[in-house]
Symmetry: C2
Subunit: 209 residues, 2 copies
Amino acid sequence: MTDQSQIRVFSVDDHPLLREGIAAIINNESDMLLVSQAASGTDAIRQYREHRPDVTLMDLRLPDLSGIDAMIAIRAEFPEARIIMLTTFEGDVEIQRALEAGARGYLLKNMPPNELVGVIRQVHAGKKRVPAEVAAHLAEHMGDEDLTTRETEVLRKVAGGNRNRDIANLLFISEETVKVHMKHIMDKLGAKDRTQAIAIAVRRGIIQL
Amino acid sequence: MTDQSQIRVFSVDDHPLLREGIAAIINNESDMLLVSQAASGTDAIRQYREHRPDVTLMDLRLPDLSGIDAMIAIRAEFPEARIIMLTTFEGDVEIQRALEAGARGYLLKNMPPNELVGVIRQVHAGKKRVPAEVAAHLAEHMGDEDLTTRETEVLRKVAGGNRNRDIANLLFISEETVKVHMKHIMDKLGAKDRTQAIAIAVRRGIIQL
DNA sequence: ACGTTGATACCCCGAACGGGGGAGGGAAAT
DNA sequence: ATTTCCCTCCCCCGTTCGGGGTATCAACGT
C-alpha cells in the first residue's frame, strides 16, 4: 500500500486541532504520507522507534518533555533522524538550542501550508531549512554572550520576586556574589535594571514565567 | 445546497494550519457547515457582515486587532453574534475581558475536537460554555481588584526598564505619583517588588512583553 | 448632596539596588 | 604551563525603591 517514493511524515503536537490541520495538508500531497501522530514527548520517542519516519514535525512545548528534549532523545538513538521544529514563535534562544541540538528546520505555525510541504521535501532531501523570518530573529542576537547556568538560575529567582539576599540564601552564596551575577546578567542582556532583564529574558526565551 | 438546519460556522485565525484543522473537523459534522474563514480582525468584521454566521470561532491574537476588539466591533453591529474565543492559554484577565465583552465561550486550542463541536452546538443553542479548566483560572483571581488604566500604563513603562523618574517624565506626572501607582500595583498583584509585578502581570495577561 | 474612586502631589526614612574597583580558586582548554 | 572562564567574596558609595502617612481635586454614581 505504501508507495516507496513517498515521504513518511510523523507529527508530534499536543494540539489535536493543529494535528488535524497538518494531517489534512500532508495527506493532500501525493508524495507524502502521514504515518503517525503523537501528543507527548514520551509517546513521540516510542512511536519514532516503531515507525522510523523520514521526517518528523515536532512541537516545542509538549505536556511532558520539551520538544527539544524529545528530539535529543530520538537523535541519540537515531542520529540520522530528520526533525523539524514547528511552533508559534519563541525566543531566539529556543531557536538556537533547537538548531544546535540537530533540528533540520524551525518553522512557525502561522506559515502557509505550501511552504510547510516545501520545507518537508527539502529536509527529506537532506537540507536544512530555516525561514528568513526565523533566521532574522536568530541573527539579531548573534555574537551576544549567552547567560551562564548560574546566571540563568539567579535570573529565575529574581523573577520570583526574591531580593538579592533571598537569592543568596537560596543558592548558598553571599549577597555580594548575587550582585556580581546581576551585573553580568544586565550587561549581557542590555538591561537597565533587573526588571527590564526579566522582560528581555522572557521575550528571548531565556526564562519562562 | 445549504441545509437549513446546519450550523453555519465562521473561523477566524491567522494560523492556516489550525484553520485547516478546524475546517476538517467542522466539515466532518453533518450538522455543521464552515461558511468562511478569515486571517485578520478587519477581514473578520468584513466577512461577518457578508456571511452572518451562526457561530464564530475567534482567535485571541490576530495580526491587526486583537480578537477581543474584533469581537467588540462585530457585536456592536450584530449584538446577537455568537462568538467563541479559541486560543492557546492566556492569562485570566484575557478570559475575563473576553467574557465581559460578550464571548459565548472560551476554548483552548489543545482541546479534543469532539468537545469543540459540542461547544459549538451548545453556543448555537444559545448557551454559554466555559470549560472547567478555563473557569478555574478565572476563579483563582475572582475578587482581585483590577489594575486601573493608569496603573497598567505605569506597569508597561516599568517593563521597559524605566525608573520611576523616567516614567514620571514620560507620563507628565511627578515621581511621587508614580511611586503611589507602583504601591497600588504591587498591592493588587500581591508582588513583593516591581520585578515580580512584571512576572505576575505577564502570567496573568495584564501586559504583554 | 454625599460618598467613592482614580489620579495627582508631598513628606520622611530605612532598605535594596547598581556601579566601581580588586582578588582568589578551580576547571577546562590551549 | 599558561590562559581563559566561571564562580566566589569583599569594600565603598551614590541612587533608587518601597512603606508609612496625609491631602487635594475631578468624575461618577446614588
